[in-house]
């Protein structure tokens, strides 16, 4: 099947609900409406309103009640309509979702998935365009996954639902309808915590994820065409736990790295990635690890966001500086 990201995620939900009657979907407008981005389309018609729950409009209780369901043994898949609204449930995620295994010394665990659309580039309002994965990646006890395309999104969502631990699952709005990909009919999973080398190269490593993967790949093509540079591109797929071995292996080969992310720069994922590369490949490094990230300003309004979100020319420029260091 050739599916876009929305349809691929929908397929994962459908098949996981088919596989396991304990899987529930809960969120605002996920039932009759099928979700504001249609990721949960038709699920309520198929599985009923007890299993695909149109919840009242309250993020903390969506996550908080899902904690209770997960402790009971169910597998809730929660949708937060936009990641910018998740601060109204952040306390539930930090205080309880991430800690239940510790707090109860493994008497309970909290196997739930929190899906959230994130990121800019879709001409949306404030709180509808941010990229704030760093908050979740920083919390012990959570897994933080960001797919980059329909096929890996479908496989990673299935893995997240089956995972015994809580997974924060970011979906790039810019990718929802961006491209179609062949997605196998049969259920498919991908391991959480593993990055993929999606383009091999020997001069430089570009590290990206989510909507920035495409930017990194286009920058790699531009570098080859203009400079003859062969850039390796790593798609992280999982932000936390970070695949440090994959990062170190690549940089030991290339000696240089540029990290690209849509989150703001300071204390962002790039900082941890750069530290990890320094720890794992210090003696191979020929240049400081560069970061191409959103500037450290609050959301500027979509009329100006293109200036802040990394694009191909910025990545190419950072790569050239790194190569010339």
């Amino acid at each position: 099947m050739r599916l876009n990201l929305v349809k691929a995620l929908n397929l994962a939900l459908l098949q996981e609900m088919e596989r396991d009657p304990d899987v529930l979907v809960i969120g605002e407008d996920v039932g009759v409406d099928g979700g504001v981005f249609r990721v949960t389309e038709d699920l309520q018609r198929k599985y009923g309103s007890q299993r695909v729950i149109d919840s009242p409009l309250a993020e903390a209780a969506i996550i908080g009640t899902s904690v209770g369901m997960a402790l009971y043994g169910l597998r809730p898949v929660c949708e937060i309509q936009f990641s910018g609204f998740a601060f109204q449930c952040f306390h539930q995620i930090e205080n309880h979702v991430a800690r239940y295994r510790m707090r109860s010394q493994s008497r309970f665990h909290c196997p739930l998935v929190v899906r959230m659309p994130y990121g800019g580039g879709v001409r949306a309002l404030e709180h509808h365009s941010e990229s704030e994965e760093q908050f979740y990646a920083h919390i012990p006890g959570l897994k933080m996954v960001i797919p980059s395309g329909p096929r890996n999104a479908r496989a990673l969502l299935a893995s997240a639902i089956r995972d015994p631990d809580p997974v924060i699952f970011f979906e790039a709005k810019a990718l929802y309808h961006a491209a179609r990909e062949d997605v196998p009919d049969e259920p498919e999973i991908l391991p959480i915590g593993r990055a993929q080398v999606v383009r091999e190269g020997r001069h430089l490593t570009l590290v990206a994820y989510g909507a920035m993967l495409r930017v990194a790949l286009e920058a790699a093509d531009a570098l080859t065409a203009a400079d003859g540079v062969e850039a390796e591109v790593i798609d992280l797929l999982t932000i936390s736990p970070l695949d440090r071995a994959a990062l170190a292996a690549s940089v030991r080969k290339t000696g240089r790295a540029v990290v690209v992310h849509e989150a703001t720069r300071s204390f962002g994922p790039g900082a941890e990635i750069a530290a990890s590369i320094a720890e794992g490949a210090f003696l191979s490094l020929e240049a400081p690890v560069a970061r191409v990230a959103a500037y450290d300003v609050p959301f500027v309004g979509f009329a100006r966001e293109r200036a802040s979100i990394p694009d191909v020319p910025r990545v190419v420029a950072a790569a050239r500086q790194t190569l010339a260091f």
Binding site: G73, Q92, F108
Partner: protein, 383 residues
Amino acid sequence: MPRTSLDLAFSIEHLSILDADGQLDAALEPDLSPDELKRMYRAMVLGRRVDERMVRLQRQGRIGTFAPIKGQEAAQVGSVAALTPRDWVVPSFRETATMLWRGWPIEKILRFFSGHLEGGQPEPAQRDLPIAIPVATQLPHAVGLAYAAQYRGEDAVVMAYFGDGATSEGDFHEAANFAGVWHVPVVFVCQNNQWAISVPLKKQTHSRTIAQKALAYGFPGVQVDGNDLLAVHAASRDAVARARAGDGPTLIECVTYRLSMHTTADDPTKYRSEEEVAAWERKDPLTRVRAYMEKKGLLEPGLEEAVDAEIAEAVARFEAMGAPDPLVAFDHVFAERPPELEAQRAELAERLRAQGGAADAAPDSKGTASAATPMRGQRTTRR
């Protein structure tokens, strides 16, 4: 367009069966067997005496900070006694008597309040959540448990505990709203003990009762004399029966009083008068139930001594427990440790090994520079 009056007739019941003077409303007296009464009275005595002992243990530095329950024994025992073991209890952090009723060993509670998370671990079959400290955050969990029970077609009821201060939190209102919309088998037990640390109820809410807040969410609320074991129990039995019959949630406001401090780190003389405390001491839940038991000829001689002996044995078991193994922390983060966590665990294990296995020994902090410390500009590695 005229103004019309909607047909909304609200009233809130206040239930009192055994008052502070020991007067009994026999018509409302719940049908409890002598054994049930003895068990509940014993649980109240145990709750009081464990609490008093814990204050002394804290003052002696043998346990850490905790939240005393003194004065709230009837609210806790009267409510939890309406449950069966297949029901769920969702506590906040001031429910020692409730937890003892549910079978938490005294030494486990002491262990929790001496900084060991093992003390928060329920037994495999025990349907109790661990103590929850961030105020009101446990309430949505109770609603989710109740939803799951209903989804699975099991008739378990969930009882959730919180205080008056919690009713100002968003999570209380969100939980109550979800419970009402979903019509789930949950009983919200508010122990309105008049004080949220230093803030009195009148600064917490402008509602006349807490019970009435349930009405806004479409389910019944009832106010009871929270120092009256019989009233709390009668209201709780009704609420549990309603929940089990599929009639949805109930909010029970137990009007009680925290006779002791908020926690052992608090000094209540700063914000409330001795006269106020003395007035509530005259309404002590234990005094009136003791008189009630005496009238019925159900007082067991030697009860206090037996309870004290039970506590002493538990304290001895608690103090005989071994030192904590810091490595255990890495066992309860994920089902399987990712490589980074494994590496961090190995680092700590190595550090502990180097210290000769003394788990709580401080790492060497002398920080003396060794001869191998490189100077600025000096490379000690080769590329």
